[in-house]
Amino acid sequence: MVKKMNEICRDFPILNQIVNDERLVYLDNAATSQKPKEVIDAVSNYFLRDNANVHRGVHTLAERATEQFEQTRFKVKNLINAKSEREIVYTKGTTEGLNWVAVSFGTQVVKSGDEIVVSYMEHHSNIVPWQILCEKTGAKLKYVKLTKNGELDFEDAKEKITAKTKIVSIAQASNVMGVVNPIKELAKLAHENGAYMVVDGAQSLPHMKVDVQDLDVDFLAFSGHKMLGPTGIGILFGKMELLERMSPLEYGGEMIDFVELDHSTFKEVPWKFEGGTQNIAGVIGLGAAIDYLQDVGYEEIEKKEHELVEYVLPKLLQIDGLTVYGPKEPDKHTGVISFNLDGIHPHDVATALDMEGVAVRAGHHCAQPLMKYLKIPATVRASFYFYNTKADADQLIKAILATKEFFKHGTI
């Protein structure tokens, strides 16, 4: 570890501010993380010194930009232990990655009567692309149930994943309940049944070491902005032989080899997928974000987040009238905790917490099927990251108690 945990707050200038007369406590990290100075500087320096289009120019700036742009591909390859940097495709985020797999790969392998398996805890971006694929192909979408504890029911997964299954697509970590799913075992189950394993890594990559070879997944999609990087940049990993089978999704500049009047040839994987001028600053920012994460180290990140959850979860559970959704055991949680206060709508809670400087999310968290499954309209979600502190947790608890008091008595 190059970075010291107690010095990390200084790297995030945005955290050092007063909001609504209170110290800002940012607990909406599952929506987007804050960015360290290193990332802001990398993006800024690119525009200040190196801005040019990649792959095309022969001049020095174009070379510098291309070098940094391609360097990030190696950083991502090392981060997730892909076999080759050519298995790393730049996208604009998790949603685009999952859509591309559904549209370009799914239509090749899924036929009428086949089945696609997801779970009840998926984000809309890991449901809707498969719904559309099912509509197009006549395939059926099946949902793996959850246990009472809010974890994926592996016994049900064994029943749902059958010889009819062509694709299994599951989030590695839930964006609502913070549970981590057994991806390695699911991938094994999928492969034994002749299906492909797709993973939504949006909520796992920011928090834990992900090794695509060890997990043996076929595709993994994730977003840069939840792991300290800029918005508008994401990664789609795919096994080389599968990416080679996929057609490009956008045709035009950047992704071609030769264009004749009546036909064209395309670049090889991954560049054939990267049509048009890419989000170069985003890619460079993501590279800096990965450097930062590795300087801190996933081991330290997991340790810190676990400490925070172990500290705050029992305090939340002690609050009268507060319900936590998902596991009550800290070791079964990422930094994501969803809860409700009896008789107070989550939106009212979120507004009140905001007045106390605490930024949380309220709503269905793009997981309406999960809300229906839990029979609730919405939740409050506090999501911690490694730069949060016990003082942040204390401020959250204090703000929740004040909120309860306010709505009980109509004033404070």
Binding site: N20, H345, M355, G363, A399
Partner: protein, 153 residues
């Protein structure tokens, strides 16, 4: 403490309306019914209307939502009974102007909107404007559908 700012948003009357909403429930034999959702938060509002002599004669709402959306719906239903679609349309526009902070004087709003003018504080909480306007959008659309003679869904 910064929570005291909440008093601007959650005035006592608003909390009372949310706790004991007026016209909450289901109308038998409603002339028109409309369901409106706030997709960002999952709130659902079902509005039912009865018309007589070109005026709203009875109204009811159900569904789920936060304090602001429930109080706003309750106040809206109080204010629109006995009004014509044209009058209501003016109220909806005034309400929207008020909560989005478009400059007008408070007296104007009280004149047009009655008790619902107490929701003016919402203008200081931009994230909550959609909560306040849901019921007013619903009546606007329900009456629009009325004019076309179509039941909305």
């Amino acid at each position: 403490m910064a929570l005291s700012r909440l008093d601007n948003l959650y005035r006592q009357m608003i909390l009372e309306h949310a706790d004991h909403p007026h016209h909450h429930g289901v109308l038998e034999n409603s002339d028109h019914q409309l369901e409106l959702r706030n997709p960002t938060c999952g709130d659902v509002l079902i509005l039912q209307l009865k018309m007589e002599d070109g005026k709203v004669s009875d109204i009811a709402f159900s569904g789920e939502g936060c304090t602001i959306s429930q109080a706003s719906a309750s106040m809206m239903t109080d204010e629109v009974i006995g009004k014509t679609p044209n009058e209501i349309e003016k109220m909806v526009v005034a309400f929207s102007d008020m909560v989005t902070g478009k400059a007008e004087t408070e007296e104007d709003y009280e004149e047009i909107l009655g008790d619902a003018s107490i929701l003016e504080g919402v203008a200081q909480f931009p994230a909550r404007i959609k909560c306040a306007t849901l019921a007013w959008k619903a009546i606007y659309q329900a009456l629009g559908e009325n004019n076309k003679g179509v039941d909305g869904q």
